[in-house]
Symmetry: C2
Subunit: 345 residues, 2 copies
Amino acid sequence: MLSERQMMILRAVVRDFTNSGVPVGSKALAKQLPIHVSSATIRNEMAALEELGLIRKTHSSSGRIPSVEGYRYYVDHLVKPDPLRPNDLNMIQSSLGGDFHKIDEIISQSATILSNLTSYTAFTLKPELKDSRLSGFRLVPLGHRQIMAILVTDSGDVENQTFDVTEAVTGEQLEAVVRLINDQLVGLTLPAVLQKLQTDIPAKITHYLQSPQGFLDIFGDVLTRAAQERFYVGGRLNLLNFSQDSDVDSLKALYSLIDKTDDIADVLGQPRDNISVQIGNEMTNDALRYYSLITATYDVNQHGRGMIAILGPTRMPYSRMIGLLGAFREELAKKLLDYYRHYDE
Amino acid sequence: MLSERQMMILRAVVRDFTNSGVPVGSKALAKQLPIHVSSATIRNEMAALEELGLIRKTHSSSGRIPSVEGYRYYVDHLVKPDPLRPNDLNMIQSSLGGDFHKIDEIISQSATILSNLTSYTAFTLKPELKDSRLSGFRLVPLGHRQIMAILVTDSGDVENQTFDVTEAVTGEQLEAVVRLINDQLVGLTLPAVLQKLQTDIPAKITHYLQSPQGFLDIFGDVLTRAAQERFYVGGRLNLLNFSQDSDVDSLKALYSLIDKTDDIADVLGQPRDNISVQIGNEMTNDALRYYSLITATYDVNQHGRGMIAILGPTRMPYSRMIGLLGAFREELAKKLLDYYRHYDE
DNA sequence: ATTTAGCAATCTCTTTCGTTAAGTGCTAAT
DNA sequence: ATTAGCACTTAACGAAAGAGATTGCTAAAT
């Protein structure tokens, strides 16, 4: 258990260091703290905090910087979300103010806004019902032996893909296949569909197609694509700002990570409640060792729950970022409710 | 006009410098050149070459490196394409060997292969007929007031987009609109379609839709998207390898450039004949000052002409890269002809 | 029992200086 | 036309020195 004074010091160390990037010494603290004590006293307290593993030195005679545990204590017990700057609120509202024809545009736009506001990298995930189900399937002949397969889920996701077929396929054949899919598979969850696709369907589909493998592949592709949670990313390039002395390799690892949908979904993990902060090596992924991730959920009533997140250096102004995410998710939820109000029956 | 010996020296300077990255001195050259002259003689010749602006020093007593003009002379007069390494040929053939369902997969895969072979960034553009024309248009109702618009061009490009509609729209209305578009616009070039979209169509379409603006916007979007030449990019991250001492700003400029389809299309420019090299500031774009671009066209008979390109540091092994691109475009053309043979009538 | 002043010790950062190695240009001899 | 020889220039490296910041510790003060 920390004393009041120790908390005060830890808070000041975090605040100073996240602002300046320079280790903070006892003298600077003594000068700025509201209580009147000498630097020697601060030094004693700092030694205690170091003993507890909350702060550390970069070399034997340097000032202190927060350790991962120190940041953790700070965000768990000491941080107070900054109120949103009026400018930022304006920026959010005007960027979300326009007319959108698709949810995805709002969500993708949100990633851009967030990355601009923070100058970090932002992720957004649209509100999603748990276990979305297949609600419709189409095959549209495009001429030239091209066909487009379209898949719709009950959460409104649309996934599509065109492919070329070698053999001539008639409209009746296509309709038969579509009917088969819609009869057998609509209403099931996507994993269940994927399951049946390998068991029941192949036998049945041979009634209509001579060589169904191509079709099954395509359908499987589109299906797995639809089953993946889809993230939008804003401000990719901002990661360049924090690369330590051009450490190209770790930068490449980082970019590979955020570009692989599966991997980054893993990192963001299950929607935690509210706002959650993950710091440095608290994340198991090695590429994120020197970064922190702040995630926040947002609720759109019966339309499900989505997520927004920002990824920046461990040394980031947490109070500002937490305040920002908190405010942003409310604006976003509002906007989405508004959107649904227009388009729902 | 350069003497034989001067050419020999220039060639050696380029070869050495692109290999080692270190300025080349007279002594090293004297040792490696096939003719037997002293370093002092080489120095005299080098002074002459410098006078001509083909090579330059990095500081007053350094060895020489090629200037942009020197590289230019080299690729125009001295370079001899390296024959393809057997390994590379294997790699190309096995990567292109599989079965593909879409041309775009072949082209996109090609970008990846090229970037792997070169460890630079690669661009590929699919074979395209000049002035492709609108060949089909569909509106597919997806339920939930979602509609997908699909546009097909006579070169086989498919572009699509879903959108949500506020008012209820009946199947008959959609069919009427589709019929209108297909009657009035199919067969025209895309710019012509875009033109008519703003003049003739709005008046006619109000027969079928109360508020056609949303639809017109979407159609316009899809159209402009289809009219853009679409590039595939491979090995984006390879650009990180050459960033001078973490010059974040120019790196950002570079990435913004290659991610904007319009801009990069501008840079690649009109398909030149054969294989073309653009060096450093020969390209007007400032972000490319320290890079070189090698482009090559490939022909797929009546199916049009496409382009492949690689972007790497000015100091790149041109002979190897030119040989590589030359071989690759032949393999790619072969593969595409093969592909069309299966899918054409 | 705390707190503080004082101080030696430690470490980084920057500057300076000398050394080495590579390379050039020029001159005079071949 | 070529070459040997040499003075000169510069980058790169490392050692040395000094400035500045900060710590831990000790002993005195509160």
